[in-house]
């Protein structure tokens, strides 16, 4: 058996520096964000197999062709899976306790073949549950345009 060699405490070193990045989203995600600014859910569709990507993808992974057909979807969908979060990841990647649990849901919009992940507010969750997207078209950060899901009537 290999013995770990350390007898004494190994010196540690760190650096007060966080590299920053700025990812261009590309024209497909741009359509998605632009749509939500007008209160619409825009998805891309593969002309070959008809698979509908939400969020939109430029290439259909199944057919390797450009998913360049655009469809507007309803704001309703079905919960594919969910989790009740009792923790969240802190800046340093540790799991910190949440004051009150929140629900994170994976939702497939009606007419879509892929999922969006967002908070589910206003009730308990179940797989198969019908939900409705809540958009915030005036959000400053495009990542906040999709605010959450709520149970559909």
């Amino acid at each position: 058996m290999v013995q770990n060699v350390g007898q004494n405490r190994v010196p540690r070193a760190s650096i007060p520096l966080d590299p920053v990045f700025s990812w261009s989203v590309g024209n497909w995600m741009e359509q998605f964000f632009d749509g939500m600014k007008e209160g619409k859910i825009i998805a891309s569709r593969c002309p070959a197999c008809g698979r509908v990507y939400l969020p939109p993808r430029m290439i259909c992974e199944r057919c390797f062709v450009k998913a360049d057909e655009w469809v507007e979807l309803l704001d309703t969908g079905t919960v594919q899976s969910f989790t009740e979060a009792h923790v969240k990841a802190g800046k340093g990647g540790e799991l910190e306790d949440l004051e009150s649990p929140e629900i994170i849901a994976m939702v497939m919009h009606d007419g879509a073949d892929t999922c969006l992940v967002a908070r589910l507010e206003g009730g308990s969750a179940a797989v198969g549950m019908r939900v409705k997207a809540v958009l915030d078209p005036s959000a400053e950060n495009v990542l906040d345009l999709l605010s959450c899901y709520r149970p559909a009537e």
Partner: protein, 155 residues
């Protein structure tokens, strides 16, 4: 669809400041720095292949663990070099370039096998070459820091 040449950018980061690297070399180098106060150069010798590491290194390329502290000399040989700052050299006239540049050299001190870096003084830049012999220029007051061995002159 209107194709945009500039799409939205999402800002994000890598919280690298929370990474905590572990390095045995820090403690080893500290020991060498401590010795500098007594004007001693301590290298770490590998029991497997005999290489002497200065500054010390916790592992050797031969897979042994260097563990014997040995004293090395303050004379050595230049293995690589560069010049900091713009100045006239080889007939190149650079606007605003005046004076002598800082000459930075990689050296291997006698009795060791590895490189350390310092500045070379008292020499014309054109005269510097790999293989040239040098001697450390110790400061009046020894601090036990890398600054103590930051300068050398031709031997």
């Amino acid at each position: 669809m209107e194709y945009k040449n500039e799409t939205v950018s999402i800002d994000g980061g890598w919280p690298l400041s929370t990474w905590q690297w572990k390095m045995e070399s820090i403690a080893l180098i500290q020991k060498s720095l401590e010795a500098l106060k007594k004007k001693k150069l301590l290298g770490l010798k590998c029991p497997g292949c005999g290489l002497v590491y200065f500054l010390p290194k916790p592992y050797c390329r031969c897979l042994s663990i260097p563990d014997e502290w040995v004293e090395i000399k303050d004379t050595g040989t230049i293995t690589t070099f560069t010049f900091s700052g713009a100045w006239a050299y080889e007939g190149i006239e650079e606007e605003g370039a005046t004076g002598t540049p800082l000459i930075i050299v990689g050296i291997v001190l006698d009795g060791s096998d590895t490189m350390t870096v310092c500045t070379l003084e008292d020499v014309e830049p054109e005269k510097v070459s790999v293989g040239m012999r040098i001697k450390l220029k110790w400061p009046e007051e020894l601090l036990g820091r890398l600054d103590d061995i930051a300068h050398c002159v031709p031997a």
